[in-house]
């Protein structure tokens, strides 16, 4: 394709050059009398002239308009004069000839055009929408002919015009068809008007199929594909703030481990429950492991992303529908010439925020403050501090910023995707290949003989094929797969961070000469973070997966009009292999008595033996296999103003862990069920729908196995009513919908076949005998049989859809309410003297959840600037009604009435100001350890003690109640700029541990944040200081490290999630290379974050900062279509 065009182009240049060279002077009338013989039919004029030149030996000169002309001409002559031949040939063209010397000049004839209607030419133009943006895919046809064209990605088209009376017909779904007569124009830009009638034909993806958008009464939201294109390997990180109702937070930035936690409309269960995720109609995320199976889909292969939120939308999923459903459709082929898209970007990443640590001298001064102000001797002598400050001997007086030592400044990302999309009416295809690579920000050591650098790479491929076998039979085959490889240090990054926060900056240097690893503790505690990172070996994670599905659709219209049958079969294969090769080398420390030998070398003594200098092997693997099948009958037919639809579907699933290590887990996980739907609409104004799911779960006893989940929904398009006419100019579209129904949740945490007792052979055993060798392993019950069943969720949803400002502004608002009963919990109120190994499960929990969510979209033109704005907002409030907690001793201890993830602890009433105040207040633990500047707690029950009876709700937890996002796209000429902000609110985190309160664990030996200088001191007794009075050691800190509201921190944030600046190259530049569209862009991710929380990235999941932070990336890339 490309080469064909290229050669034409080159040929044209050659021709015109040649023509110019041979141009000369002298009278040319003679040559017109030259007699030639020629016979050509329907060839381009330029080709015809060339042919004539060849047979006549006469040179022709002409310009580009002749070369470009797509007019075809005929010539039939037998020893006819050249002038006569040319008269005939040019008769139907806008060109004339004139003889100059011995050559002939062909030129444009303005008069001739006036005379002749039959002017063949290529007309170019553009189709724009009401906002002035080009519409791709518009069909442009010459009426009454089979000549036609389809607009490209920018809305541009080219079409051959044979006659000025030709009529062009522009048609596109959702827009009014437009016709116009060509006349003498060479370029026609057409603006299409949206067609409210056609809006009714827009289609939405719903459970087990599609539905006309206008008739949907369930709550669902969809995100446009281009929104998902971001420099992230994991699409789950693209969702927060872009879809109303989706609560998503990214908990780590480590390459290969970046999947977000997702909840639909917040939490309504006691343990994390992600949505059910389906890719092309097959379950590929089970709601427990959340998004795990879609993590590795290349975002570029996704056509649409739809979230089903209410019961009407999810009831058909029965026992699996309660936590919401995400439907992903991959891209399908279109009827068009093969279109190749290429996208490539490459960028650099750095951490959004690295914890800042105190430097060695500040650290030692703070330690001395912590000790001396509490009647302990100073830990560091002034001499020691001075030597450190003056860098006297960094081996003996080190000053190390461990975070600097383990981090690189930048990592890299790279992504490439090539896809081909095309096909004819009978066969369409989409084929794609992608590559993603991310390198981490942790250092490696050149001395290591192995590679412990963090690097994650992944190859994706997708192939979707749609065949029309007969006029009524269709076959679809889809395959998606990937192979990924992640390399990491043997010690997990979280562990390395933990060590970096544990080891003080002055404990020991990074390493000793001769590559001895420094360490002080004989049991290996206070590990050297740098050695942990670089000297402990490596870990390799290899994953691969193939999703496949084949679907057959038979139109049964011959039997019953509107009936069709679909059956689908799917096989998924997943496998992974983890290899760890690790070691722990001995550690050394200079002798206390004599740090240097006589020869000046360090006198190192071995402090910890380690387990040798060679790498040891550990491996694990997983293999998953899944079969899924569904068969359905669909019915859709309209009778006058009535329209009736129906669906009945049978499905079942069989999922096996092929590498299971015991029989029970090797038994396939199975589900089967039936789903049904009936829809009715009248005159596209009134809509009603009933959805039913009936399915079963192996987890429950036969009698409690199958569940029936009904839901109904009604909708009313007010703007379709007569009485709405007066308002129609202001509000063009107004729809109200309401749904009510049930969905279920059958997942038992870590338990299968709940109706069967489990005895474990792994229980503690005992040794008899004097040799210590006749040990017997133990058997004990590990879980009790219980006759439980699924949790049932009753959901209601009231939604409004409004469009105004001539459809430019649209607003969708949903109010939702959920009452979930029978949530699995282990019995809480069972006394321990019953002697159960663990409390049995029961359908005990009740949670209420309600909230509001909305989406606002606005598209407008300001002059030549096209601007679109989009915003979403989600708020939910969950409330524990019942949790089987035993009756509370005091009302404030009751956890009913709080949100699910609420945190409990003491209420901090500021810091003590005087000894008198301490003497008259209750304190936890030993009063003599408490000093002014320590945290004062509220004695809720007034018993003079601070203990478990003063524990109450102090925070709402780290899953935000509010998630929002907003952004805009601006296009001006060839430039476009897109910005998207994402934020959370009402999220809190309890921070704790050694990384928080300095010197509070490990006997006081811990690193300190730089923020440790913001503390209460006797000289500046600031009640608002970040830290209370410093203390050294566990006991001295025990008052301040109690779980209390002091340590509850607001982790809300607003972040510039993406910014994207692009420039579409002028068409002329690359068109001749065959590119239809080329764009270069620069893209930033997580560029900046606003948050009150300053210690680390507020989004990551850690209470002490020991998690691989999120990553900010800036990348440049290019897309092109051929």
């Amino acid at each position: 394709m490309l080469f064909m065009r290229l050669s034409t182009y080159i040929l044209a240049i050659l021709c015109s050059t040649a023509a110019t060279v041979v141009a000369g002077s002298a009278d040319g009338q003679e040559i017109l009398k030259k007699r030639i013989t020629i016979n050509i039919k329907r060839i381009f004029i330029s080709d015809a002239l060339e042919e004539i030149a060849k047979v006549s030996g006469v040179k022709f000169t002409y310009n580009g308009s002749v070369i470009k002309s797509r007019t075809k001409v005929n010539a039939s002559a037998n020893l006819t004069a050249l002038g006569t031949v040319l008269d005939n040939v040019l008769k139907s063209t806008p060109f004339k000839y004139s003889a100059i010397d011995d050559e002939i000049l062909i030129s444009y004839d303005g008069e001739k055009k006036q005379l002749n209607n039959a002017v063949q030419r290529i007309l170019t133009g553009k189709v724009i929408d009401e906002k002035g943006l080009g519409i791709p895919g518009v069909s442009v046809k010459v009426e009454g002919t089979n000549r036609g064209a389809i607009t490209d990605a920018n809305g541009k088209y080219e079409i051959q015009i044979n006659d000025a009376t030709d009529i062009l017909v522009y048609s596109y779904i959702g827009y009014k068809t437009k016709k116009l007569t060509v006349g003498d124009q060479n370029n026609i830009t057409v603006q299409l008007e949206p067609n409210p009638e056609n809006e009714l034909k827009e289609v939405a993806v719903v459970a087990f199929g599609t539905q006309r958008k206008v008739s949907v009464v369930g709550a669902l939201s969809t995100v446009s594909v281009s929104e998902l294109k971001q420099p992230v390997s994991n699409i789950t990180n693209s969702l927060a703030g872009r879809l109303a109702g989706v609560v998503a937070v990214q908990r780590s930035g480590e390459p290969g481990n970046t999947q977000a936690d997702i909840w639909i409309r917040g939490m309504a269960s006691f343990s994390p429950r992600g949505p059910l995720i389906l890719v092309d109609g097959v379950t590929r995320g089970d709601g427990v492991s959340g998004a795990s199976l879609i993590n590795n889909i290349d975002p570029e292969d996704i056509e649409s992303f739809t979230v089903l939120k209410d019961a009407s939308a999810t009831a058909v999923y029965g026992v699996r529908g309660a936590n919401g459903v995400i439907l992903i459709q991959t891209k399908k082929g279109k009827v068009q010439k093969p279109s190749i898209s290429v996208n490539y970007y490459e960028g650099a990443g750095s951490f959004t925020k690295i914890p800042e640590m105190a430097d060695g001298v500040t650290y030692m001064n703070l330690v001395n403050e912590a000790t001396t102000t509490r009647d302990m001797p100073a830990k560091y002598a002034q001499d020691y501090i001075n030597k450190t400050a003056n860098h006297i001997d960094p081996l003996l007086y080190p000053n190390v910023d461990w975070f600097d030592e383990v981090f690189n400044k930048y990592g890299s990302i790279r992504h490439a995707n090539v896809n081909i999309n095309g096909g004819a009416q009978l066969a369409k295809y989409y084929v794609s290949a992608g590559y993603q690579e991310e390198s981490g920000l942790l250092k490696t050591d050149d001395l290591a003989k192995y590679n412990s650098a963090i690097k994650y790479s992944r190859y994706n491929f997708t192939s979707n094929l749609n065949l029309d076998i007969t006029k009524s039979t269709k076959l679809d085959l889809g395959i998606q797969g990937f192979i990924s490889n992640g390399n990491y240090p043997a010690t997990t990054s979280g562990d390395i961070f933990q060590q970096a926060m544990t080891v003080p900056p002055v404990e020991f240097p990074v390493s000793y000469p001769g590559n001895f690893i420094p360490g002080r503790s004989s049991n290996g505690d206070q590990r050297n973070p740098y050695a942990d990172l670089t000297r402990r070996g490596y870990r390799n994670e290899f994953d691969n997966q193939i999703f496949s599905n084949i679907r057959l659709t038979q139109d049964l219209g011959r039997l019953v009009n509107g009936l069709s049958l679909t059956t689908m079969f799917s096989v998924d294969v997943t496998s992974s292999r983890n290899i760890t090769r690790k070691k722990r080398e001995p550690t050394f420390f200079p002798s206390a008595e004599q740090p240097y030998n006589a020869d000046g070398t360090l006198n190192l003594v071995q402090t910890f033996t380690g387990d040798g200098n060679y790498l040891k092997f550990e491996g694990s693997s997983f293999q998953g296999r899944k079969y899924y099948t569904e068969t359905s009958l669909n019915y859709d037919r309209s009778f006058n103003k009535h329209r009736i639809g129906g669906l009945i579907l049978y499905n079942q699933e069989d999922r096996t862990n092929a590498a299971a290590s015991d029989f029970t887990s090797s038994i396939p996980y199975r589900l089967r069920g039936v789903a049904g739907r009936a829809t009715y609409s009248y005159n596209d104004r009134y809509f009603a729908e009933v959805n039913v799911g009936y399915n079963g779960s192996e987890n429950f006893a036969p009698k409690k196995r199958y569940g029936f989940f009904p839901a109904f929904g009604i909708g009313w398009l007010l703007s379709g009513e007569k009485f709405f006419e007066p308002l129609k100019n202001a509000i063009t579209f107004f729809k109200v919908r309401y749904t009510n129904g049930y969905a279920g949740d059958d997942v038992l945490d870590g338990r299968r076949f709940a109706y069967i007792d489990v005895l474990s052979e792994g229980a503690a055993g005992y040794n008899y005998g004097t040799t210590q060798q006749t040990g017997i392993s133990g058997i004990n019950i590990s879980d009790y049989a219980v006759n439980v069943t699924w949790a049932k969720s009753h959901k209601q949803d009231l939604g409004f859809e409004i469009k105004t400002l001539k459809d430019k502004l649209s607003l969708t608002v949903d109010l939702f309410k959920e009452h979930r009963t029978g949530i699995f919990l282990r019995r809480g109120a069972i006394p321990a003297f019953v002697g159960l190994v663990n409390a049995p499960f029961g359908n005990l929990g009740i949670v209420d959840n309600k909230g509001i969510e909305g989406t606002l979209e606005n598209n407008m033109n300001i002059g030549r600037v096209a601007l679109s704005i989009r915003g979403t907002f989600t708020y939910n409030k969950d409330n524990v009604i019942e949790n089987d907690q035993s009756p509370s001793t005091y009302p404030w201890m009751d956890r009913r009435g709080s949100n699910v993830l609420a945190q409990y602890g003491y209420i901090a009433d500021g810091l003590f100001t005087s000894d008198q105040e301490i003497a008259s207040s209750a304190v936890p633990g030993v009063r003599e350890n408490v000093r002014p500047g320590d945290i004062k707690y509220r004695d809720l029950n007034g018993d003079g003690q601070i203990n478990a009876y003063d524990v109450t709700r102090i925070g709402r937890g780290d899953v935000p109640a509010i998630v929002y996002g907003f952004g805009f796209n601006i296009a001006y000429k060839n430039f476009n700029l897109g910005v998207f902000m994402q934020g959370t609110a009402m999220a809190q985190r309890y921070i704790s541990g050694n990384a928080i309160q300095p010197f509070s664990t490990n006997g006081g030996i811990s690193n300190a944040f730089a923020i440790a200088t913001d503390r209460w001191t006797e000289d500046s007794p600031d009640q608002d200081a970040f830290y209370p009075r410093l203390a050294y050691g566990d006991a001295a800190n025990s008052n301040n490290t109690q779980t209390s509201s002091w340590w509850i921190k607001d982790v809300s944030f607003l972040r510039l999630k993406t910014a994207d600046l692009g420039y579409t190259l002028p068409k002329s530049t690359f068109q001749k290379l065959g590119m239809r569209n080329a764009r270069i862009y620069m893209m930033g991710n997580n560029l900046f974050t606003l948050s009150k929380f300053k210690l680390w990235d507020a989004e990551i999941n850690t209470g002490n900062g020991t998690t691989y932070p999120n990553v900010r990336t800036i990348s440049v890339g290019m897309t092109a279509q051929f």
């Binding site: 033996t609 199975r670 076949f753 055993g765 005992y766 019950i781 019953v834 006081g1004």
Partner: protein, 588 residues
């Protein structure tokens, strides 16, 4: 084809009826001898592993014997008195023992079904389970006082809440029940086992625990303790008897005497060991009674245990020495305990005749050492058990396989605070007892739970209360002293205690020293009701933040809290909240 595949696939019958038929059931467990024995082994596993001092068992550092340097040790919760009915430390034992009690009930109910188990073993195993169940009740009673006797039949796992509203039994009911169960079990148990079965409950083991049970029942905490007058069930039942009954001491003394008559010296006797020259060595006898596996003094010893963990806490940091002699030294012996040891002439250090000197250095060759070393005077000329129990500054380490290691516990010493970081003794002494003379991280020996010396001391104590002046009191007390290598009461060097009270004091002192660091003191001070004195207030040690000479100054290490309510653990709050019949211990 797709259609066919899916139809074929979906038409299988019983798609969801996959029963995991390899799933182990109770019937299968008791369908074979090996299954039943495994179930029994699991019941045995709840015999507490007292090697887990750091993480689980707070008895040593939670008494006035010792102190842990680490903040995470559960003993800190005990010492600061900051636990309550919701604390893990108070709930753990309640849950653990009741689980074992339930399992024992299931075992006793099912054991007769096992087809391939000989009848004599059925009877023996059943008695073992019964004995263990009784023992677990006793171990709970010494912590919580009156408990709930749940009966022989296990409460169903899915019992309704109304079916589990059980009241506590009175302490006397508990004692009667447990002692009857112990007697019943003893009747079906052998006196000894072969070497392959050491560790199984035998007749003397359960009778020794019965002696312990009756001793507790006679002790002031449980015998007429009016502090618990208000502790009554909803129906008015008094949970703790309100009048002291001296015959309870008699019962305890009789039980001890009966044990001695039956099993001493035939089965057990005090362990005695000679040195390499063939001379009796009190030091070696007292040291190795803990180390020599299943010696003739051991009544019950636990085979699986965390001996390496226990030794890790007791072996000093010893910076710069090989790993076999270097550990943490995090379990410090208190000055209070150091002072409790007698001097070599058998007297307390506050006895003017003891010759105790607390100042200056002296030259002294300690038992177990091979030479005279310069040490602080306080640690010279003490009784042999002192050198068994305490590692002090300047002492030679037990393991000399890679040369002599001298322990220094002052601030910059090889095991001092500054050197060890988080691994040092807060008192300047380390607990030394029950530590191997070999490599500390090797386990492979059993952990002594109960030995004959304790029964002798139980007997002397009970008899002194039941029949003051009975000659056996002094006889059995002196047997302990004789073995320990110190003068006996009533001998030429040392007068016998003058009266019952003096004798009581002498017995308590002897018990504190003989059974030091054996998880006895924690319970003794409670049952004697003296914990408000011993465990409340300052704990002393050396000044570990200094180098000599200030190091030798005795300073307060911490101030401990013990209030009246701390004599008994609280019943876990969840049980009190869930069970409306459950009355909480007074003060909680």
């Amino acid at each position: 084809m797709v259609l066919l595949t899916s139809l074929n696939f979906s038409c299988k019958k019983g798609y969801l009826d996959q029963v995991p038929d390899d799933r182990l059931t109770l019937d299968e467990t008791f369908g074979s001898r090996s299954g039943a024995e495994k179930f029994l082994a699991n019941i045995y596993s709840d015999i507490p592993d007292e090697g887990e001092q750091r993480f689980a068992v707070p008895w040593t550092a939670g008494s006035d014997e010792a102190d842990f340097v680490w903040g995470f040790a559960p003993s800190n919760t005990i010492n600061t008195g900051s636990y309550d009915a919701t604390s893990g430390v108070t709930g753990t034992y309640w849950q653990k023992y009741y689980k074992a009690i339930r399992s024992a009930g299931i075992f006793i109910y099912n054991i007769d079904k096992v087809p391939d188990l000989p009848a004599n073993l059925k009877s023996q195993y059943k008695a073992e389970a019964r004995a263990l169940r009784a023992m677990y009740y006793f171990l709970m009673m010494r912590l919580y006082g009156p408990v709930v006797i749940t009966g022989d039949a296990a409460i169903p796992a899915d019992a309704g809440y109304e079916d589990i509203q059980l009241p506590r039994n009175s302490f006397d009911e508990c004692v009667d029940y447990v002692s009857a169960e112990m007697d019943a079990a003893a009747g079906a148990l052998p006196v000894t086992t072969n070497n392959d079965n050491k560790g199984r409950i035998t007749k003397p083991i359960i009778l020794a625990y019965k002696t312990e049970l009756l001793l507790y029942a006679a002790s002031p905490l449980f015998n007429g303790n009016t502090d618990y007058a208000a502790m009554k069930n909803l129906d008015g039942k008094q949970l703790m008897n309100q009048t002291a009954d001296v015959t309870k001491w008699k019962k305890a003394a009789d039980a001890a005497k009966s044990f001695i008559d039956q099993f001493v010296p035939g089965t057990f006797s005090l362990y005695r060991k000679n040195d390499e020259n063939g001379n009796y060595s009190a030091y070696l006898s007292c040291r190795d009674v803990m180390l020599d596996d299943w010696n003739n003094e051991v009544i019950l010893s636990r085979n699986n245990n965390n001996i390496p963990g226990l030794q890790y806490e007791r072996v000093p940091y010893h910076q710069g020495y090989s790993s076999e002699v270097s550990a943490s030294g995090g379990l410090g012996a208190t000055q209070n305990m150091v002072d409790a040891y007698f001097t070599a002439n058998g007297r307390s250090i506050d006895d003017p005749a003891s010759g105790y000197v607390a100042t200056n250095y002296t030259g002294y060759q300690a038992p177990g050492d091979n030479t005279i070393r310069g040490i602080w005077n306080s640690w010279a000329n003490r009784e042999p058990r002192f050198y068994v129990g305490i590692t002090y500054n300047g002492s030679r380490w037990l393991n000399t396989n890679s040369g002599d290691v001298i322990t220094y516990t002052f601030n910059h010493g090889n095991s001092g605070k500054e050197t060890g970081g988080n691994d040092y003794s807060t008192t300047g002494y380390m607990v030394r007892k029950n530590v191997t003379t070999g490599t500390w991280y090797n386990g492979g020996r059993s952990l002594v739970m109960l030995r004959l010396a304790q029964i002798f001391l139980d007997y002397a104590e009970a008899l002194n209360e039941a029949e003051p002046g009975n000659a056996n009191v002094l006889t059995y007390l002196n047997m302990i002293r004789e073995r320990a290598g110190i003068p006996q009461y009533g001998s030429a060097q040392l007068a016998a205690p003058a009266d019952q009270a003096a004798m009581r004091l002498a017995i308590r002192k002897e018990r504190r020293v003989e059974l030091a660091f054996e998880n006895v003191r924690f319970f003794d001070v409670r049952r004697w009701k003296i914990a408000e004195q011993t465990d409340n207030g300052p704990i002393y040690g050396l000044n570990v933040t200094a180098d000599p000479p200030s190091f030798f100054n005795i300073v307060r290490v911490e101030t401990r809290v013990f209030q009246k309510r701390h004599y008994l653990f609280p019943i876990p709050q969840n049980d009190v909240n869930s069970d409306k019949q459950m009355v909480q211990n007074t003060g909680w």
